[in-house]
């Protein structure tokens, strides 16, 4: 049995309880809506862009600790990144939580989600915000993790 404390690291629970990037990007250049029917959760991610560089990412909606912390840390990490970099990071992040990759080349803060790999039912929680932001950047409105 995997250790729960690996899933709910202090940084995760802290960002879940006190997210720094809740709200709506203003001005808002693109918007995505994500849906995790498993939790009954919905998330709205808004992005402010400047020359394909992400100026600000905000999210709204209610979610579990994993999805909230993931959304918040995602926002933190993506600010200042290009759209292309964002996609690359998402790919690595997805590999990390799905247990197919490591955190070696990921921004440090995202390494706290390594524990998710031991909880396959929670992979969708960890990736919901990411799926949604990528869809927003691609101009697709609705995504779902199921």
């Amino acid at each position: 049995m995997s250790d729960l404390r690996e899933l709910y690291l202090e940084m995760v629970t802290d960002h879940a309880k006190n997210p720094r990037h809740r709200g709506k990007a203003n001005p808002c250049d693109c918007i995505g809506t994500g849906n995790n029917p498993l939790c009954g959760d919905k998330i709205v991610v808004t992005v402010q862009l400047q020359n394909r560089i992400i100026e600000s990412v905000k999210f709204d909606g209610e979610g579990c600790a994993i999805s909230t912390a993931s959304a918040d840390l995602m926002a933190e990490v993506l600010i200042g990144k290009s759209v292309e970099e964002a996609k690359k990071i998402f790919k690595m992040f997805h590999e990390l939580v799905a247990g197919e990759g490591t955190s070696d080349n990921l921004p440090n803060k995202l390494a706290v989600f390594s524990g998710v790999r031991e909880f396959p039912m929670r992979v969708k929680c960890a990736t919901l915000a990411w799926h949604t932001v990528i869809a927003a950047l691609d101009g697709v409105e609705d995504v779902t993790t199921e």
Partner: protein, 405 residues
């Protein structure tokens, strides 16, 4: 040995650990565990009698046909239907309701007709009616639910009018466990000439269900929620209605004769059982019915009610836990939330303690919205549960609060 112990012993899946914790299965509203006799009935069918049914002259086919039709009779007896032809084997409650919506309702509905459901329905008793409304122009009305999770019967009466063609409602709510007064509701429907469709997925196997007493027109069940296999369930329909109806699906076994010019339907219930049915599933369901009967509804109700009361006490005594829709007439379903901890996280932490509950919207999004929630935790009780299981639930919830609350 206690009654409870005897039961627990006959459910093999309950004897396992999750990690290093004993499994505490409190997700029976999603699907019940299966007694050994049901598993054995399936195995024995495949090992000895496996054959296609109804059209065979050989011995295996005869045995399989007899076993399949005996299962139909068993279900008819359990539900107190007036004849076995009123029992149609389907995949489950969802298919049963879709069958009624498409084969019964769709041909008779048009603009101006109304379908009345309630706010506490499972998606399976909402979406089929939305689809048929879209197809026919009929409209959907929704009776309200009270704060305690009971049906607002005034709202139900108010919305039940001469325009109401069909009334569809759960016998027991899967999300909060409310037991509806279906006999009274069916009588009210009859008064305005509406056809009643009862979603019994959560009732059979927990509380006695009698077609002759309830006098509904249709009743839907799922085998896997009443100790039977997956992929099998029943639609009960009044014989006269079934006779009138056109078939839904076409294929083998549901026809008497086929030519390219003209095809003649078979008799009820075969008219509605196109193709090879889930033979092993029906036989397993027959075994489940026998198990329910040998156990007896009296004991069942008594045990489940006792556990429900105990479980509610356990949870109520934990600070931060709120019970949702805990009505007086309730089956063994306890819906709750934990302050500061999202249900999904509660579910993960409980699983880590060996306690299996369900979290989310329980395929009842509109009911969640009614209670201003996006998700709840749901512990659902079955005869094989014990007080000890509910104690574990309580301590696991406390652990969740300790970790994240």
């Amino acid at each position: 040995m206690s009654n409870t112990q005897i039961i627990a012993d006959s459910f093999p899946a309950l004897h396992q650990t999750i990690g290093d914790k004993r499994l505490v299965y409190l997700d029976s509203a999603a699907t019940t565990q299966k007694p050994q006799c049901v598993i054995d009935a399936i195995t024995s069918y495949y090992e000895h009698d496996n054959a296609n049914i109804h059209r065979g002259v050989h011995t295996l086919s005869m045995r399989a046909t007899t076993a399949y039709e005996n299962a139909r009779q068993s279900v008819a007896n359990l539900l107190q239907a007036s004849r076995k032809e009123e029992i149609i084997f389907v995949r489950g409650a969802t298919e049963a309701i879709n069958l009624v919506a498409q084969a019964f309702a769709r041909p008779i509905l048009s603009v101006g007709d109304e379908i009345l459901i309630t706010e506490m329905e499972h998606h399976s008793n909402i979406v089929p009616w939305q689809l048929v409304c879209e197809q026919t122009g009929a409209s959907l009305k929704v009776a309200k639910v009270n704060d305690d999770g009971s049906l607002n019967i005034d709202s139900f009466k108010e919305l039940l009018t001469e325009d109401t063609t069909i009334v569809a409602f759960a016998h027991v709510s899967n999300a909060i466990g409310t037991i509806n007064p279906i006999r009274e509701m069916c009588a009210l429907a009859r008064e305005v000439g509406a056809i009643s469709v009862v979603d019994g997925a959560q009732a059979v196997g927990h509380i006695p269900v009698s077609m002759s007493d309830v006098d509904c027109d249709f009743y839907a069940t799922s085998g896997h929620k009443m100790f039977g296999p997956t992929g099998i369930g029943c639609l009960y329909g009044k014989h006269a209605l079934l006779e009138e109806m056109e078939p839904w699906q076409g294929g083998g076994d549901m026809i008497l004769s086929v030519s390219f010019e003209e095809t003649t339907w078979n008799n009820v219930p075969f008219k509605f059982e196109a193709g090879t049915p889930n033979i092993a599933g029906a036989i397993g369901l027959g075994a489940a019915v026998k198990w329910i009967e040998s156990f007896g509804y009296d004991t069942m109700i008594q045990q489940e009610q006792e556990l429900l009361a105990y479980g509610r006490d356990v949870l109520r005594s934990i600070e931060g836990v709120t019970l949702i829709g805990a009505s007086e007439h309730n089956a063994g379903v306890i819906a709750f939330t934990v302050a500061g901890v999202h249900p999904h996280d509660v579910g993960t932490i409980l699983d880590h303690e060996g306690v299996a509950i369900r979290t989310g919207n329980h395929c009842a999004e509109p009911l969640m919205r009614r209670f201003n929630l996006s998700a709840t935790c749901r512990a659902s009780i079955c005869v094989y549960n014990t007080r000890k299981d509910l104690d574990h639930l309580g301590s696991a919830v406390q652990e969740a609060i300790r970790m994240l609350g």
